[in-house]
């Protein structure tokens, strides 16, 4: 005989009880292990979705800049045939299909102009790449348009323009183009093109694939050979380049950073000035080379690199800014004027070839003499002096356009004071000051200008035309560069050209060649890549300065910090912004997921796990109670209490292992069920049907270990309960320490006092809240004090109810149980509940706690769709939210702006016109980024950023729009204008986006990777609470332009309008602004879609919590069984004296019902009290019916389960039981 044999013998002998314990452990292991498997499955599914989404694409270069298509071939030449370099144009657009007078529209279409190279990366061999006017739609888009193969669809796109549309010379008239296409194929959701996208998201995009050649032709990016009118040949251009392997079997399906690094190095080697929309113009006449941009303005990065290259090559440099002045006149004689003259801001160099100017009179201006608002010191040429009849010291007036925020061009009037008159010869006689602008500088006369704004051609004089004929864009006015930049600098930059010249007699062609090489080295990041590779080897990734102040070596923080450098390396963003991103690596990294579904499902299953644990504890305890005298015997014969406990713990451990192993198998089943749930009942939580079950043995082992630890804890707890019981009591069958009458009285008194305190607190807080003493201000996390107080009231009520039960069960009821029949049995049953108070209160507490959470969660459901616009709420008082695929430049609040945007209200009925005229539109600038709302479960790094214009910000401030959380300042909107150290940019974001998607809080930083922008660091300054801004970040417009100067116009709008007219207004705007891809929806609906995720999570929690509650009721029936077993003798006696089986049934069921009803009632009452503020709001959407069914079901199951105990009580043989007693 040894301990092991004793344990095995015991396990076999008490197999019924042990099987019940094992089942409890199986349940716990299944739930915990299943949660881990769900987490793995979601992660692996996301990972597979990333791979499926990208197909053969490993790396991508995509951005706003258009570069040569030839670059694709140049790169392909560096690689084997296994790899494909695919050129493409990626643009947002909108698509419509008309059939039978009904128009179907989709506003957010990702348009891909592609050829067979890209298509080979899509790995869709059954379908040919689109050609001519074909379009291939993905299933989502085809369904939205109700389109089938062969249908004709209309695609509207913004025409990319070199000169920004919202700059002075930008083309505002021809903004969009329409392509009529035939649907040649539809790709299904489970194919790569069906879900292709660069941003990690599990939602399917609306994709349209068109022929690259056709698209280039349509939007003016096709190859243009040199002609007499356009002597410069233009290469075909693209804005995206995809790199990868078409064949699945190709080695390395996943590009590592080293691969992308090599790709970027090759890219840097092949970039030309044309790719950067730059050109070097040699001016043989004046002996210099000028760097100009097709944008007309050199962006600040380019300007800085241009001047650095010149300094490094020891060249003379002359930066220039030119501006077009509409009209110059003599204020003393308005008949003396000059139209459409160029003014140049220069440094008035004194050395050739840029100077010196030859002055007829006076000299250069002193920039220090200029004061804001005062006359501008300037030099004019002798032609203008003659035209205006002015001399040195005279003042002349000017009018010029200033570019407004909303595309408007207000004409400003400013005065200049003449400090000198320069001869129209030498360096002042140079039309090369002004960069070439197609349609303007090459026009033969003013009448031939491509008018960037309405020109007053009737005012153009013969003198003006003569000047144009002879001198063209030669400036008539010169002013200090500093002054000119202050007047005319735009967000796109401040210089229009940088002129360079050799200090020696080096031929200009050689100068141009060397300069181009050096400039490209700086712009392409080639110089930096060399340094970067050194940094890579040393394993450092940090912001550093290379070559003095020339270029910043910037790693992409945040994006890769979770991945080792060995696999990702450094990604260095060059000033050109042209950079391949390892999209597949990034996609796989993002597949780690923003939400920890393991944690989520363990949380959802909390009550299930708790109930399983309780059940394990209760069942094991039941087993111990049946063997309590055995415990006593073992102690009596000399086994130390610890040895006895160890024997029982060993039994528990064996049961745990058996249950854990079986539970591991059940975990797979549980996880499969949860995955099925996520794809069906809880589809809203994840929003994809591409989930699959992925079982990793490590997770099952982990689940087994966790569940085993918890189960052993439950076993230990139940064994430990016998610690205070003496051996003699154990021998006598007593399993718990007995309290004497005095102790019981004292305990009851303590419970009573605790109950009174809890109810007193609840009442006091309730009165305080009702009477307005409790403030409505925010307490924390977006919750105001009223909400918090009610929650405390609820919890106090829960504690009060349960302590009241504890008190009631301890009350010494001297009064006899009177009466007859079932009633008397019920009363006796209720009295019985007090016999084992701890047990009764524990089970009632479990049921109450589970009910509290389930009811509170259900009561917390919101339906914003029924909420009215309220300024201090998540909808900010707005009715509609709209987005466009093409930026809108104009102010939709004004008739003029609406007209310019193409809205035509003629013929619209007056009611609708009134709605349009009364609407208030808040436009936002948009830098598209990743979707960081709760609708996206991928890990996002940089969400879409909205720039808030100053007037919109003022409205937000004045009206106290939106609700903030944890943002403890009087006016949170002011935070967007705050100055932060180290140039950090303050941003606001929605609490859900920040906490759950980006995992950031107030004060945290978000790094913006430089990509054709200088990059920067954002600092979270405030959090919006449950707002329509979920998934985006907000920053001031000025900061927005600092980071994203190339983002023109507005693409996001909040519209304040009569909610009753919202649908009509939405429809009208979508129709009238169809060219912009205007897509409006109710703010309430947008919020509802965000909340759908939350509500789905609540449903999941409720379902699993309900299961936990059901399991808890089984625990209660176990308690009942224990009670019955303990009282076998009494029950036998009752039956011996004539009680029927029915009486005994009532006795047991009454006790069971009391505990269940008390638990359910206390939990429900407390939850409803806690959720009162929400229940009284309009958005409350409590599923009362479902809740009632759930609670009734729990009660019914609990009562049915108790019938097991009843059966045991009734079948107990009377005689033998009485004898045993």
């Amino acid at each position: 005989m040894n301990s092991f044999r004793l344990i095995i013998g015991s396990l076999r002998h008490y197999w019924r009880t042990n099987i019940a314990v094992v089942l409890g452990i199986v349940a716990a292991t299944a739930v915990i292990g299943g949660a881990l498997v769900v987490g793995d499955s979601v992660r692996d599914s996301l990972r597979q979705m990333s791979l499926d989404r990208l197909g053969g694409v490993d790396a991508a270069l995509s951005g706003p800049r258009f570069f040569r298509e030839r670059l694709a071939e140049e790169l392909a030449d560096q690689y084997s045939d296994l790899e494909v370099s695919a050129p493409a144009i990626v643009l947002p657009g909108s698509m419509t299909r008309s059939a039978d007078g009904v128009m179907q529209r989709s506003g957010h279409v990702e348009v891909y102009g592609i050829d067979e190279r890209f298509w080979s990366l899509m790995r869709a061999p059954d379908l040919a790449a689109p050609s001519d006017d074909d379009v291939i739609l993905n299933r989502k888009l085809a369904d939205a348009l109700q389109a089938a193969v062969g249908d004709r669809v209309s695609l509207v796109l913004e025409i990319p323009k070199a000169i920004p549309r919202d700059s002075l010379l930008g083309d505002r008239t021809e903004t969009v183009t329409e392509l009529t296409l035939t649907v040649s194929g539809i790709v299904e959701d489970d194919t790569t093109p069906g879900r292709f996208g660069l941003n990690p998201a599990q939602q399917l995009p609306a994709n349209a694939f068109v022929s690259l050649d056709s698209l280039q032709e349509q939007i003016g990016l096709a190859h243009r050979p040199a002609s007499r009118r356009n002597p410069t040949e233009k290469a075909a251009r693209i804005n995206a380049l995809f790199f990868g392997r078409p064949e699945r079997s190709a080695p390395l399906d996943i590009t590592d950073a080293g691969h992308t690094g090599f790709l970027n190095r090759e890219l840097a080697n092949h970039i030309t000035l044309e790719d950067l929309a730059l050109r070097l113009v040699t001016n043989e006449k004046h002996g210099y080379v000028s760097l100009e941009s097709e944008q007309m303005i050199l962006d600040s990065e380019t300007a800085r690199a241009a001047m650095t290259a010149a300094t490094e090559l020891r060249l003379i440099q002359s930066p220039v800014i030119v501006y077009l002045l509409n009209e110059l006149w003599n204020p003393n004689d308005s008949d003396k004027f000059s139209m459409y003259s160029v003014a140049a801001g220069v440094d008035f160099p004194t050395s050739p070839p840029f100077g010196p100017f030859e002055y007829v009179a006076g000299g250069p201006p002193d920039p220090a003499a200029y004061s804001l608002g005062g006359p501008i010191p300037a030099v004019i040429n002798e032609w203008l002096a003659a035209d205006l009849g002015t001399g040195v010291g005279d003042v002349f007036a000017s009018r010029y356009h200033q570019v407004g925020d909303r595309g408007e061009l207000p004409e400003l009037e400013r005065q200049f004071i003449i400090t000198g008159i320069v001869k129209l010869s030498g360096s002042a006689d140079d039309r090369g000051f002004t960069p070439f602008v197609e349609g303007i500088t090459d026009a033969d006369s003013f009448a031939d200008w491509r008018q960037p704004f309405p020109m007053k051609l009737d005012r153009v004089t013969t003198r003006d035309e003569d000047y144009w004929d002879e001198y063209r864009t030669t400036p008539k006015v010169f002013l200090a560069r500093e002054t000119a930049e202050a007047l005319w600098r735009s967000r796109y930059g401040s210089l229009t050209s940088v002129r360079i010249a050799p200090t020696d007699g080096t031929p200009l062609s050689d100068v141009a060649k060397k300069y181009e090489e050096r400039l490209l080295m700086l712009m392409s990041g080639r110089a930096v890549l060399d340094s970067g590779s050194r940094a890579n080897r040393s394993g450092r990734a940090s912001r550093r300065i290379i070559d003095g102040e020339t270029v910043q070596v910037v790693t992409v923080p945040g994006l890769y910090d979770k991945m080792s450098l060995a696999t990702t390396g450094l990604v260095i963003a060059p000033p050109s912004g042209l950079l391949f991103q390892p999209v597949k690596v990034q996609g796989l990294s993002a597949a780690q997921g923003t939400t920890d579904f393991t944690g989520l499902f363990i949380g959802f299953s909390f009550f299930l796990i708790a109930a399983a644990m309780l059940l394990i504890g209760l069942l094991f305890r039941l087993g111990i109670e049946r063997r309590v005298s055995e415990l006593g015997l073992l102690r009596a014969v000399g086994l130390a209490p610890r040895q006895v406990r160890r024997l029982f713990l060993c039994e528990g451990a064996i049961l745990t292992v058996v249950g854990g192993v079986l539970g591991g198998l059940a975990a797979v089943g549980y996880a499969a069920l949860m995955i099925y749930g996520l794809k069906t009942w809880w589809y809203g939580a994840i929003g994809t049907k591409f989930l699959f079950l992925s079982v990793r043995p490590a997770s099952l082992v982990m689940g087994f270990l966790i569940a085993s630890a918890v189960a052993l804890l439950a076993v230990w707890w139940s064994v430990r309960q016998t610690r205070g019981v003496s051996t003699r009591e154990l021998l006598a069958g007593t399993s718990e320490p007995r309290l004497d009458a005095i102790g019981k009285q004292q305990r009851g008194r303590r419970s009573g006092v605790a109950s009174l305190i809890a109810w007193g607190l609840a009442s006091a807080l309730l009165i305080g809240t009702m009477s307005g003493i409790v403030p409505q201000t925010e307490a924390f996390g977006g919750f105001n004090w009223r909400v918090v107080t009610f929650f405390v009231v609820g919890v106090a009520a829960l504690v009060g109810s349960l302590t009241a039960l504890a008190w009631w069960l301890d009350v010494d009821r001297a009064a006899a149980v009177r009466g007859q029949g079932s009633g008397a049995m019920v009363r006796l049953g209720l009295r019985n509940a007090g016999r084992n108070r701890g047990r009764s209160v524990l089970t009632a507490s479990l049921i109450a706690a589970a009910t509290f959470v389930i009811v509170a969660v259900a009561a917390g459901r919101r339906n914003p769709a029924v909420e009215q616009p309220v300024k201090n709420s998540g909808n900010g008082g707005f009715t509609l939210v709209a987005e466009t695929s093409v930026p809108v430049l104009y102010d939709l609040n004004t008739e003029e702006g609406r007209a310019k945007a193409g809205m035509d209200l003629v013929g619209i009925d007056s009611g609708k016109r009134d709605v349009v005229e009364q609407m208030r539109v808040m436009p936002f600038r948009v830098k598209p980024g990743e979707n960081a709302s709760c609708l996206n479960i991928y890990q996002t790094q940089l969400p879409t950023i909205l720039g808030v214009p100053p007037d919109v910000l003022q409205t937000m401030r004045d009206d106290d729009r939106f609700k903030f959380a944890d943002t403890r300042v009087e006016q949170p909107w002011d935070l967007l204008d705050s100055q932060l150290p180290d140039g950090r940019i303050p941003v606001l974001g929605d609490m859900n986006t920040l906490l759950y998607s980006l995992h950031k809080g107030i004060g945290d930083l978000i790094h913006v990777a430089p990509s054709a922008t200088p990059g920067g660091t954002l600092q979270i300054e405030g959090m919006l609470d449950g707002s329509v801004f979920q998934g985006v970040l907000l920053m001031s417009e000025s900061n927005f332009f600092r980071l994203f100067p190339d983002q023109a116009g507005f693409r996001y709008f909040l519209i304040e309008a009569d909610p009753a007219q919202a649908d009509a207004l939405s429809s009208l705007l979508e129709t009238q602004l169809a060219d912009y891809g205007f897509d409006a929806e109710r703010v309430a609906d947008r919020l509802a879609s965000f909340l759908a995720v939350q509500n789905t999570y609540l449903s999941t929690f409720q379902t699993l919590g309900g299961l936990g509650l059901l399991l808890g009721t089984l625990g209660l029936s176990t308690v009942m069984l224990r009670n019955v077993l303990e009282r076998r003798g009494e029950i036998a006696l009752l039956r011996a004296v004539g009680f029927r089986a029915g009486h005994v049934r009532w006795l047991v069921l009454a006790e069971n019902a009391l505990l269940m009803l008390w638990g359910l009632g206390a939990g429900t009452l407390a939850a409803l009290l806690a959720m009162t503020p929400h229940l009284s709001s309009t958005g409350a959407d409590v599923p009362w019916a479902g809740l009632r069914v759930l609670l009734a079901g729990v009660f019914a199951v609990g009562m049915l389960a108790a019938l097991g105990a009843v059966r045991e009580a009734v079948r107990t043989p009377i005689l033998s039981t009485l004898r045993a007693e």
């Binding site: 005989m1 040894n2 301990s3 044999r5 004793l6 013998g9 015991s10 076999r12 002998h13 008490y14 005298s629 055995e630 006593g632 015997l633 073992l634 102690r635 009596a636 014969v637 000399g638 086994l639 130390a640 209490p641 610890r642 040895q643 003496s726 051996t727 003699r728 021998l731 004497d740 009458a741 005095i742």
Partner: protein
């Protein structure tokens, strides 16, 4: 005799707290015994007989007084040493034999050895001999459920004696048995205790059993009175 006693109980008192106040169960019990002695304690129900027995067997604690077993004062020991003391020096025979239903007869007898350090073969051999002594040599592999009441009590007796205790304490050992079986169990109890040189203290209501003991005490009003010697 008392000076050379192997068991000396002196001034033992036991009180219980109740709703109506303190109840004095034992009010100063004195008892002395030597190895091989056998004594029976009788008294009315609730007089404290079993309490006294459990205190002597270190399953309960006295309110005051002392128990000294062969120089060891068990109530001065810690819980682990108390268990060891009980295992090595005390053997219990209960009215409800408390046999483990999952164990065989032999295993039940061996249960106390689980806490000891004796060689398995030695204790098994002793168990077999004890069982043979009580006539159960053919029931070694039987389960308690397969035994009669008298047989179960004999197994309980063997279990009590397996570690060769100094003290053999029997609480109503024949209380659940018919007269014939009780007689046989009583005989065995006395014989084996004498053979093992154990001090036997038996608590019983049975006058027949009590009459067979050389010394009989009556527990009355919390005091132990020698009635017959």
């Amino acid at each position: 005799m008392s000076d050379a006693a192997d068991l000396r109980v002196s001034g033992l008192t036991k009180q219980f707290a109740g709703a109506a106040g303190t109840i004095d169960v034992l009010t100063g019990v004195d008892l002395a015994m030597r190895r091989g002695d056998a004594a029976v304690i009788t008294g009315p129900s609730g007089s404290g007989k079993s309490t006294l027995l459990y205190i002597i067997g270190v399953l309960d604690e006295p309110t005051a007084g002392e128990v000294n077993v062969a120089g060891t004062i068990p109530f001065r020991l810690g819980p682990i040493d108390q268990a060891k003391f009980r295992n090595e020096s005390v053997g219990f025979v209960f009215q409800d034999h408390h046999l483990l239903p999952q164990c065989t007869v032999l295993e039940n007898v061996l249960i106390p050895t689980l806490a000891g350090t004796k060689r398995t073969s030695d204790v098994e051999s002793r168990a077999r001999k004890l069982l043979e002594r009580v006539g159960l040599q053919n029931r070694l592999t039987h389960r308690p459920a397969q035994l009669s009441g008298g047989e179960r009590q004999r197994v309980g007796l063997c279990r009590a004696l397996i570690n060769e205790p100094l003290l053999l304490l029997a609480d109503e050992p024949t209380g659940n048995l018919d007269q014939k079986t009780a007689e046989s169990v009583g005989t065995l109890l006395l014989e084996i205790a004498a053979e093992q040189q154990a001090m036997l203290i038996c608590v019983t209501h049975s006058l027949d059993l009590a009459a067979r003991f050389p010394r009989r005490y009556e527990l009355t009003a919390g005091k132990l009175i020698l009635v017959d010697s």
